[in-house]
Symmetry: C2
Subunit: 187 residues, 2 copies
């Protein structure tokens, strides 16, 4: 079940480097893309860096609305992750093409992709030179949610069901699935 996640713990959704789905909405049009390069930049308030290629429609919508939702898909969603990365929302309606369901939250411009296990709604911090020179965006989270089968009390659980594990893109359609959780002893 999707439940609220304390904002100050929301950087944990992305700290281990999973592939993200990025959704954005402007003027009544929603779109979603895959992004491997989503990384925390600060804890509280949470900031993240996101790389969005210049020609993507999701980037255009995010720039127009100033907002996006970053979310963590699961290994069960591999065909969606690949699918939304292989076509443009300028050409097709990805939501119907890949049977992706979305939900709305008050005060959040972009839709939340169902089936994901963590969501962070964020506003883009204006850094136009970074966007034009590096395709790099800095954003600040303002609301977060997590599936309580994966995160509880703001922590990644030790007993995440195999089908809900995150994936990390290696290259060219090859992904590493989250394996065992290990705890280092801190002395």
């Amino acid at each position: 079940m999707r439940v609220s996640l304390a904002l100050k713990k929301s950087w944990r959704l992305f700290n281990h480097g999973p592939v993200a789905l990025v959704s954005a909405s402007a003027e009544g049009v929603d779109n979603v893309m895959a992004a491997a390069w989503v990384t925390p930049l600060d804890f509280d308030p949470p900031k993240l860096t996101v790389v969005l290629a210049a020609d993507t429609y999701t980037r255009a919508l995010a720039e127009r609305s100033g907002e996006l939702v970053l979310q963590v898909p699961t290994v069960s969603m591999l065909s969606v992750i690949e699918g939304v990365g292989a076509c443009s929302g300028r050409d097709v309606d990805k939501w119907s093409k890949f049977s992706i369901e979305r939900e709305r939250e008050d005060g959040v411009a972009a839709p939340l992709v169902k089936g994901c296990v963590g969501w962070l709604a964020a506003k883009i911090i204006a850094e136009p030179r970074l966007a034009s020179e590096y395709d790099l965006f800095i954003c600040q989270g303002f609301a977060a949610w997590a599936d309580d089968r994966v995160f509880s009390d703001g922590r990644l659980r030790d007993d995440v069901p195999p089908e809900l594990r995150a994936v990390h893109h290696v290259a060219g359609g090859t992904y590493v699935v989250d394996g065992a959780i290990v705890h280092a002893s801190r002395g």
Copy 2:
């Protein structure tokens, strides 16, 4: 065995979001720290973003020399990863304290940490406002190596031995170890 990795494929060392060790050297002093927030930014030539907290000695050395080495440690090195992140090279010699061996390459200022499975030597691109405002550094790789038991022909192998797998930091000493490799069908 450590072998050269084609520079244009070197972004793959970090694409799946593993924890990195960052080494730097200036004026005859070497240091090393752990960094969870190391992410590709571009493919060829490879650029990466790296977050280095303001008070770290490794950052000071990297800023002085304009260079650093980003490397991928393994699950076998968990105590080193934790150890170098829990003290400062200003106070202790981390190399001896944690029995870390290092190697040198011609033309590379920083040492390469032995036991890691991927290494990228990089030069810092001067972005002083990003450093002061966000602790964010952009660097460009100029030489790369990989352990051929983990990467061969520029690809992450399907048969990486368990003890050589990368780890991803979740929070507070909890890590996710690389699990299964999956290949999405394309097209």
